[in-house]
Amino acid sequence: MTNQNKQMKDVMSQIMAIPAIGPLMALLLASIFFATQTDRFLSGSNLSLVVQQVMVVGTLAIGQTLIILTSGIDLSCGMVMALSSIMMTSLAVDYGVNPFLAIIIGLVISALFGLLNGALVTMIRLPPFIVTLGTYSIAFAVIRIYTTQTITNLPDVMTFFGKTFTIGSTAITYGSVLMVILFLIAWFVLSSTAGGRYLYAVGDNPEAARLAGISTTRLLISVYVISAVLYGIAGLLLTARTGVGDPQAGQNSNLESITAVVLGGTSLFGGRGNIMGTLVGALIVGVFRNGLQLMGVESIYQVLITGILVIVAVSIDQLSHR
């Protein structure tokens, strides 16, 4: 091998070492492509719209990433989100509960579902897929038993995160900002705290983690609870974005959040991945939807392309790790 080749290889390997570099490059390429296809794509207001459109799924995907990093999976996330949204809005609108208190109760209900998931996964050692498949249906049924009506006339507090502020001429949604802040917090916790390290360790090899002195049970239960609280926050963002409490919401959100995680380069086998990749993954889906829409492509083709994207992304990931 010549010297120049070696240098090239060194530079390449340094670039490849940047976390989530693959998804980031995909996002860039997609953006460049859509920018060449339609003038409106690169406008500030459109990009802000993309972020606003992914804020709910993005927030869900933070929780989903935490669980997938432990080599679990959470199918119940969308339903927990919808339940939290319904409880918040219903308590505030139908029962006149103080909206702040209603929001907190909604988050607590989410947390309880997380506790249930975590307890079943750790105490009875059921596979997370099975547990959350069950709690998905349970939360779905609880919502339907509670109400089939869309809840409207929400107090202002609950729609705050759907409102915007402007920088220059670009309107930015408060909810988008909240999502980005949550990603940054999750990133900090995962990369710079002991708990974050433990989470990767448990996802890598639970028995080795236990023998290294980690309380795996406590860690896993915490992860399921924290993720569920994030779903509750996603519920608040959903409420704010749509302006209603919708009992039909969230039925596909589990798969959408998993899509974002996978596109972000996190391994479904656990222990490997980066939370910022998930943000990029969510944005990739958002950019494709938005760009294709601007190009006038029918929405069913957007779904088709998302499906192809997932398979291509994971194939590239698999091949690069051989």
Partner: protein, 500 residues
């Protein structure tokens, strides 16, 4: 006199060689098996017996040599091919379909058929016939996992008899049996040889060899030491054959200053595994824990480490020590380096740094936030101190050599007061072994207490201040460094002290 001495040779192996990365498992082995004889294979763990039978069973291809079976040179390609030839193997872990019935298992893969349907009547009748010939009776229409271990073994034997088996390999068949079932097993083995079937019988118990075998072959370090008629050997001469090896000069053991008792265990029990274990390990002392596989050594370390439940009392430096989890033990500076680095030690997808500090992260944290500089400094110091070869501390451990991986795990636990080591040099090249021994000696000099499980006798002898020999869940004998020899350890490890 050996009644099978004049029987014709049915199976002959010439110059069999087999290597795995970094290890020569078998080196130029010549072995012949006579028709209708019971041929015992003996040797320490890792001596090459298992590799040899796996080659015969078609589970591994051989690298070198020739196998002549019934006068013809054969190349055994697969387990199925071995069975077609007439070589059947009963492994220690049975190959039964646990939820299927006895006839289904006996005829697994070739159930008698009537057209497209299974001919259950024939299957049952022929199963019954085979079992009757073996002189046993079993309930036929129950799933195999409801049978006792001894009965499952019978099903395995019956399975072999549905085919034209000429050579039956039995891998430690007695390891799972009680005394009464053993007697029955011996009867069956005799009835099989009476029909001209040859038995290759692997065992760790020397007494069995005298009970059942016609000839015995001893393996050591992948070589064949010798094949003898059982009538020509004694217990002592067999032990000598098994252990007579030169001690290589790779043990840097120095006599450390031995201090007060750090770990004191009294009456430790774990049902069926550990029986009334009492021992002490002092500061500065390296205690070797010898014994055969399955004697309970790993289980003892795991119990001390809080990884498994146990009964009994322990003290650490005079204070009560009753860990209920590995975290408990590590918090009190008791560490376990497991035997299986990949499954139970390393976090393979993570970096050298991650793996080194995971157990002691709190020391680098202010309120849960990791002080990166402090962590990096510590890891770099460890890499230097233990001479861990890695391009950088952020490189993943997965691609490293066994020796370097082991050093990373030892680096993880350098802050411990009591170090439990389970086969600390398994699968590691001699150079790294020596470096790990050096670390052990250094640690002992700093006042650590080390309890080391090892199946390599030279290692036990070379590194231990004292040796505890375990046999079937008991501590069979404590030997001082002066008393310990390969012979004395093997005598207690094999349980032959109980026979004579």
């Amino acid at each position: 006199m050996n009644k099978t001495a004049n029987n014709p040779i049915i199976l002959e192996m010439k110059g069999i060689g087999k290597s795995f990365p970094g290890v020569i498992a078998l080196d130029g082995v010549n072995l012949s098996i006579r028709e209708g004889e019971v041929h015992a294979l003996l040797g320490e763990n890792g001596a090459g017996k298992s590799t040899l039978i796996k080659i015969l069973a078609g589970a591994y291809p051989k690298d070198q040599g020739e196998i002549i079976f019934q006068g013809q040179s054969v190349d055994i390609k697969s387990p199925y091919h071995a069975q077609q030839l007439g070589i059947s193997t009963i492994y220690q872990e049975f190959n039964l379909a646990r939820h299927l019935t006895v006839p289904e298992n006996i005829f697994l893969g070739h159930l008698p058929q009537k057209g497209l349907l299974v001919d259950w009547d024939t299957a049952k009748a022929r199963s019954q016939e085979i079992l009757t010939r073996l002189g046993v009776s079993l309930q036929l229409d129950v799933p195999c996992d409801t049978l006792s271990v001894a009965e499952q073994q019978l099903v395995e034997i019956a399975k072999a008899l549905t085919r034209e088996t000429r050579v039956l390999i039995m891998d430690e068949p007695s390891a799972v049996l009680g005394d009464k079932d053993m007697e029955k097993l011996f009867q069956i083995v005799r009835s099989l040889t009476a029909r001209g079937i040859s038995i290759i019988y692997i065992s760790h118990r020397l007494s069995e060899v005298f009970e059942i075998a016609d000839r015995v072959t001893v393996f050591k370090d992948g070589r064949l030491v010798g094949s003898k008629d059982v009538s020509d050997v004694t217990m002592d001469s067999l032990v000598k054959m098994m252990v007579g090896r030169d001690l290589q000069d790779i043990y840097p053991k120095k006599h450390a200053k031995i201090g007060k008792v750090l770990l004191d265990i009294k009456g430790l029990n774990r049902p069926k595994v550990l029986h009334n274990i009492s021992l002490q390990v002092r500061a500065g002392e390296i205690v070797g824990l010898a014994g055969m596989r399955g004697a309970g050594r790993t289980e003892l370390l795991r119990a001390i480490f809080g990884a498994d439940s146990y009964e009994g009392t322990m003290t650490l430096d005079g204070k009560p020590f009753n860990p209920t989890s590995p975290k408990d033990a590590i918090d009190q500076k008791v560490a376990l380096v497991t035997e299986d680095r990949k499954a139970e030690g390393l976090l393979l997808q993570q970096s050298v740094k991650f793996n080194t500090t995971i157990s002691g992260l709190k020391e680098f944290c202010t309120r849960w936030i990791i002080n990166r500089q402090k962590e990096v400094d510590h890891v770099q110091q460890m890499v230097k101190k233990l001479r861990i070869k890695t391009p950088g501390i952020n490189n993943l451990v997965v691609g490293m050599s066994g020796g370097n991986q082991q050093k990373v795990i030892i680096a993880r636990f350098l802050g411990a007061r009591v170090l439990l080591l389970d086969e600390p040099t398994r699968g590691i090249d001699v150079g790294s072994k020596n470096e790990i021994y050096q670390v052990m000696v250094d640690l002992a000099e700093q006042g650590l207490a080390v309890l080391m499980v090892s199946s390599e006798l030279p290692e036990v002898l070379g590194m231990s201040d004292r040796v505890l020999v375990m046999h079937e869940g008991h501590i069979a004998k404590e030997l001082s460094r002066a008393e310990a020899s390969e012979e004395s350890i093997m005598k207690y490890a094999t349980g032959s002290h109980l026979e004579s």
